[in-house]
């Protein structure tokens, strides 16, 4: 076991998979000698060489299309989009082409798209996106969003070994703020499996990514303040969703808060709410509650961004309302 940061866990996972499988290669902007905008691939080109760490021109469609082409002929590319916001430039490639390849061609397309995402770093409207909802709606893509170093490493390895295009959402604010124990031995976190990060009896918080940590803080506060027992369910995989785990938690607690950093309207929380409604209605003791960013672009100035984003305090308030229902 090693106590490492979230970003180190991603790097280690990538490194180990590149050592394990020669068909894995990295492609993206500034990922070579510079080591990437966030230094995830620092030292990679020196060790693996230019044929495994491919620095590209500034062209997201070309990066995603090239990764798709290489994947279809048997390689396992890991594309880095410098900021998740810029994936929009290659949106058509991903949703029209990449996502539907297996359905149309019956050929696997094993590729990973790393998306440094999320707000709370004063990135403003164009360096703060949570892009999951755009892709959640597109059949053919898998989406994962780890919250801990353990999950980050296990999921990047699983994503690389998966025979489908996997969008890997890595939260920028977690990069160097979160540390945790990570095995040095080979392991994966299975895609499609959620994880109960804290067991509880009274209310389920269904969440992922950065919000997992806020939910855990809120749970601790409420346990100490009023003895409320909160369960925190970390989805880890957004597509496919671990519906069994969601339903078993809901059946146990009967009250649900869905929390994501993405803005509320059209966010994946709406779909989770609908699934619970369809499958667990008789177990519900209160209307399902959602919390997320407000429906505006991500503002830059700190007080504006703080107002815009969900946080621990807002989670506590929402949970208290649910408890009182």
């Amino acid at each position: 076991m090693a106590n490492i940061t979230y970003i180190e866990a991603i790097s280690k996972g990538l490194w180990e998979e590149m050592e394990r499988d020669k068909s894995v290669f990295l492609i993206g902007e500034d990922i070579g000698p510079f080591g990437g905008a966030f230094k995830v691939t620092k030292g990679f080109i020196q060790h693996f060489g230019e044929d495994r760490v491919v620095d590209t021109v500034l062209a997201e469609t070309a990066i995603l299309g090239a990764a798709t082409g290489a994947a279809v002929v048997g390689m396992r590319p890991v594309a880095e989009i410098q900021f998740a916001d810029f994936v929009t430039t290659g949106f058509s490639q991903l949703v029209n082409n990449t996502a539907s390849i297996h359905y149309r061609w019956h050929v696997p397309c094993p590729m990973v798209v790393r998306l440094p995402s999320g707000a709370g770093i004063h990135g403003g409207p164009f360096h703060s996106r949570n892009p999951e909802a755009w892709f959640f709606h597109q059949p053919g893509l898998k989406i994962v969003a780890p919250s801990t170093p353990y999950d980050a490493k296990g999921l990047i390895k699983a994503a690389i070994r998966d025979n489908n295009p996997v969008l890997y959402l890595e939260h920028k604010r977690l990069y160097r703020h979160i540390k945790g124990e990570v095995p040095e031995t080979d392991y994966i976190v299975e895609i499609g499996k959620g994880d109960v990060k804290r067991e509880g009896r009274d209310i389920s918080v269904i969440t992922y990514g950065s919000m997992v940590h806020m939910a855990l803080e809120a749970a601790e506060i409420l346990q100490n303040e009023i003895g409320l027992s909160i369960e925190v369910l970390d989805l880890r995989s957004l597509m496919p969703l671990d519906t069994e785990l969601i339903y078993s938690s809901v059946r146990k607690t009967g009250k649900v808060l869905i929390a994501h950093e993405d803005n509320i309207t059209g966010g994946i929380g709406g779909e989770i709410s609908a699934l619970i409604n369809e499958n667990c209605f008789q177990y519900l003791d209160a209307p399902i509650k959602r919390i997320g960013a407000i429906d505006t672009p991500t503002p830059y100035s700190p007080p504006l961004e703080e107002f815009f984003l969900p946080n621990t305090k807002k989670v506590v308030v929402a949970l208290k309302e649910l408890a009182a229902f």
């Binding site: 290669f25 492609i27 044929d51 495994r52 491919v54 590209t56 021109v57 062209a59 997201e60 469609t61 070309a62 990066i63 995603l64 299309g65 090239a66 990764a67 798709t68 082409g69 290489a70 994947a71 279809v72 002929v73 048997g74 390689m75 590319p77 058509s92 490639q93 029209n96 082409n97 539907s100 390849i101 297996h102 359905y103 149309r104 061609w105 019956h106 050929v107 696997p108 397309c109 094993p110 059949p139 053919g140 898998k142 025979n163 489908n164």
Partner: protein
């Protein structure tokens, strides 16, 4: 909007165009494939009029020399990313008429299993990867296959196409920007067939030639007569060899005419009759036939023999496809993800 002024070509034509000669046997093969392409597409139109094709039907009438001659410059191990006017390229690369017919008729035993129509399929066995309707989206993919070839040191090239209209889509620029810097083994043919749906080429570009764009990427660019099989083959062969040597991509503008509408539903009334009449004189299928007769390669006996063979093949493929079942509806729900 008024007429777009064309800026004269800035290219210095510094790249020498090499000539590659074809043997009699090769000429005959090219002739056969071009005839087969033309007749196959006529069969498709007939099936369309009979209501047997549920979606659109596209032809490459006028483009046969470009499609056939370019694919003929490839080796078996090379990758082909054809567009919807390149049926001849599918055939040259080894695709069977039965498979092409099944695709058009949306049958369950087609290569896409009915999930998509026309040339929208992949056949990894033959290294053919058909287009999606966002045609330009295939160019980055072809660049990716070329990149894989380079990274694996395989000396395999990727050939792809785009239309005069499609060439304006950003994907094309991004791919050429990447492929030129990385010296990827990629060949892009811009099939300038004078119309993008109803828009004439004069409203698609302000420069004289599409090959002028090559200069902006620092790669060789050629403009050729796309109805002339010798020019098409020779230029593509040169590009393929250059790519195989690791010297990077080539951009080829092949000037042709879309003799039919955009698709079978389109009467193309917007195309001047005089323009069609002018291009009719350069019909690529007639041109190769005349050429081979002049060269005394094609005799009436061979022609008759070929026609007998190709009509029999077409009849077989049509009967086979028409007699094949549609996929069961519930199959729509499977196969979104690979195991």
């Amino acid at each position: 909007m008024g007429k777009v002024e064309t800026v004269k070509s800035l290219s210095k034509n510094s790249v020498k165009k090499e000539q590659y000669s074809l043997s009699s046997q090769e000429y005959l093969k090219l002739y056969y494939f071009m005839r087969l392409t033309r007749e196959f597409e006529e069969s498709i139109l007939k099936l369309y009029r009979q209501g047997k094709i549920v979606g659109g039907a596209y032809t490459g009438n006028g483009n046969e020399a470009t499609a056939v001659g370019s694919a003929f410059a490839l080796e078996k191990q090379d990758y082909l990313f054809p567009m919807h006017r390149d049926m001849g390229a599918h055939l040259v690369k080894g695709q069977s008429l039965r498979h092409l017919m099944l695709q058009h008729l949306a049958r369950g035993n087609s290569l896409s299993k009915g999930r998509d129509g026309t040339g929208h399929y992949a056949d990894p066995r033959l290294r053919i990867y058909g287009n999606i309707s966002h045609l330009a989206a295939m160019i980055p993919m072809a660049a990716g296959v070329a990149l894989a070839s380079k990274l694996r040191k395989e000396k395999v090239v990727a050939l792809t196409y785009i239309g005069d209209g499609g060439s304006n889509v950003g994907d094309v620029h991004e791919s050429l920007a990447m492929a030129s810097v990385m010296k990827l083994p990629l060949i892009l043919i811009i099939e300038n067939n004078q119309f993008a749906y109803s828009t004439p080429v004069a409203k698609q570009k302000a420069m004289e030639k599409y090959s002028d764009r090559a200069m902006g990427y620092g790669i060789p660019g050629f403009t050729i007569d796309g109805t002339d099989i010798d020019q098409v083959y020779s230029t593509c062969k040169q590009a393929v060899e250059r790519a195989r040597r690791g010297e990077g991509p080539t951009l080829i503008e092949s000037v042709t005419m879309r003799m039919h509408g955009h698709s079978a539903h389109d009467g193309a009334e917007y195309v001047p009759k005089t323009l069609l009449a002018e291009w009719k004189k350069k019909d690529p299928v007639h041109r190769i036939e005349k050429l081979l007769i002049e060269k005394k390669i094609l005799t009436p006996t061979i022609k008759e023999e070929y026609e007998k063979k190709l009509f029999a093949e077409l009849e077989d493929a049509t009967q086979f496809a028409v007699g094949s079942p549609f996929p069961p509806g519930e199959e729509a729900a499977i196969g979104v993800y690979a195991d």
